[in-house]
């Protein structure tokens, strides 16, 4: 399915960085939430996970990054079994934070981004001047350096989410996982947010995996769509996905897919 393409950033798109084999997950004594998932993610991919509410798409992300323990199967990240994986700074994670976030938490933008450096530092090791420089660079990349002394709770949703991207970026990750990152963000900020993601993927060669219910937007942005509905029901290009979903009603009655073609 994947041709060997090495694009302008020198990223080898044939290299597997995440290998998921026969993974199942369920809570105690309940029916499995996910069954028999097989998925390979290649370096430089930009993948959208789609599926109806409760389909397990967020669950799958949480399993890959080690927040939930799967029952069966195996997951390898950068060729290492998840259980033995230690290089967490190579992963970034942006959660649905802004919706449940404590707006009164007394930290500044710079303090939040600096937290992203902790994974590069050992237990008890102090923050260095280098960490501060990298914090500045990360904030500049997302266009938020001017806000570095502001309290995180005083920012708008879109600005906050940029800061969380900067926090993911500051540890110099190769993959970033984003879980419904644009929920509660106004349309204009969403557009800027997706432009930023394109920059991370195309210019910096970072692999992106994004969960979103906004299928229309995703199909315009990502390289591959992965459909999840308790199992993996498709892994295809956005164009193919749109064709398929118009002829078969993949997600039942509730989900309509309206397509606008890219303007560029």
């Amino acid at each position: 399915m994947h041709k060997s393409i090495i694009n302008s950033t020198g990223v080898d798109h044939t290299k597997n960085i995440i290998e998921i084999e026969n993974v199942s997950f369920g809570y105690d004594n309940q029916e499995d939430v996910l069954t028999n998932i097989n998925l390979q993610i290649h370096k430089g991919d930009y993948i959208g996970f789609v599926g109806p509410n409760g389909s397990g798409k967020t669950t799958l992300i949480k399993i890959i990054i080690g927040l939930l323990k799967f029952k069966e199967g195996s997951i390898k990240i950068f060729g290492k079994d998840l259980d033995n994986f230690k290089e967490w700074h190579r992963l970034g994670y942006v959660s649905q934070r802004i919706n449940e976030f404590d707006k009164n938490f007394p930290v500044t933008v710079a303090e939040v981004v600096l937290m992203g450096r902790y994974s590069n530092r050992k237990f008890g090791q102090r923050i260095t001047e280098e960490d501060k420089i990298l914090t500045r660079e990360a904030l500049e990349k997302v266009g938020m350096w001017d806000y570095q002394e502001r309290l995180i709770g005083d920012l708008s949703g879109g600005q906050m989410q940029r800061v969380f991207i900067a926090r993911a970026l500051v540890s110099d990750p190769e993959i970033i996982f984003l879980d419904e990152p644009t929920t509660g963000i106004d349309e204009r900020s969403q557009k800027e947010f997706y432009e930023l993601l394109q920059k991370l993927n195309k210019e910096m060669g970072i692999t992106l995996i994004i969960v979103s219910h906004d299928i229309e937007k995703l199909t315009q942005e990502v390289m591959h769509i992965v459909c999840i509905n308790r199992s993996l029901t498709c892994h295809t290009t956005p164009e193919e996905f749109i064709r398929e979903s118009q002829s078969t009603n993949m997600f039942g009655q509730d989900v309509k897919i309206i397509t606008h073609h890219k303007h560029n």
Partner: protein, 262 residues
């Protein structure tokens, strides 16, 4: 400064100041984790520990410390099983230990008066050994906090992301809760069981009203804490807590007034 001629007052003030420095450092993490009531629970567990100590003729601070450390780990484990809600686990330990203290109390009527001083705290009961013990516990608490500061901050702010970045958040939570039981046990002789959570929580929520960054919020909490403790007179915890509440009200109303006028 006539009062300094009395050794016990000096001891009380020294112990009070040590506690005043250490307690907001723990309090800020507890308040931000919505875990303020853990202090109250561990205080009641400590009371049962004190009762046990008095009953068996052991140093009550040591038995209070032991029982609250054990209970704190048990509470955290119980909470992690997700079989029981976090605050239900607290209620369980709070009522259980209070019941235990009351039963021991009725078994041995002889030390009721002594136990009373642990309920409300008193600088008069602070001996020189207690001052040393408080100092050692305080140093341990401060050093551990310093070592794990960045992990504690990240875990408190965003537990999931902290975990993904490789921080062992379960261990960090255990460290925080054990430090809390240390702080509670060391503060009990001065402020007593009933008002310990006020000491841990009020300076921090006062400082939070000022909307500063993390470091400055801690400094302000320290200031409010020490200022209140300085009012420690021959009367005890009641005064300290009332002063804290008064400062909180002032700051709260001032910020409210400022946000209306600006």
């Amino acid at each position: 400064m006539e009062i300094f001629e009395y050794d016990f007052i000096l001891r009380g003030i020294v112990a009070g100041l040590i506690i005043g420095v250490v307690v907001p450092l723990i309090g800020i993490f507890l308040v931000l984790k919505r875990y303020s009531l853990i202090a109250d629970t561990l205080a009641h567990v400590s009371l049962a520990g004190v009762a046990l100590g008095l009953f068996f003729g052991l140093n009550p601070i040591v038995t209070a410390l032991g029982s609250s450390v054990v209970a704190s780990v048990a509470i955290e484990k119980l909470r992690n099983t997700k079989k029981i809600y976090g605050e239900s686990a607290l209620a369980l330990f709070l009522s259980g230990s209070l019941a235990l203290a009351v039963v021991i109390l009725s078994l041995a009527r002889g030390f009721n008066a002594n136990l009373f001083s642990y309920l409300f705290g008193s600088i008069v009961t602070v001996g020189i050994k207690d001052v040393y013990l408080i100092l050692i516990l305080a140093v341990i608490t401060a050093v551990v906090l310093f070592i794990f500061f960045k992990e504690l901050l990240y875990t408190t702010f965003d537990e999931d992301s902290a975990k993904v970045s490789g921080i062992q958040t379960e261990k960090i939570n255990i460290i925080l809760i054990v430090l809390t039981s240390l702080a509670v046990s060391l503060a009990i002789p001065i402020v007593g069981v009933l008002l310990i959570s006020a000491l841990i929580v009020i300076p921090v929520i006062t400082a939070l009203q000022l909307k500063k960054d993390f470091f400055r919020t801690i400094l302000w909490a320290e200031f409010f804490s020490l200022f209140s403790i300085m009012n420690l007179n021959l009367s005890t915890s009641g005064t300290i807590v009332l002063v804290m509440l008064a400062i909180f009200m002032l700051v709260f109303l001032f910020k409210k007034y400022m946000s209306h006028t600006s």
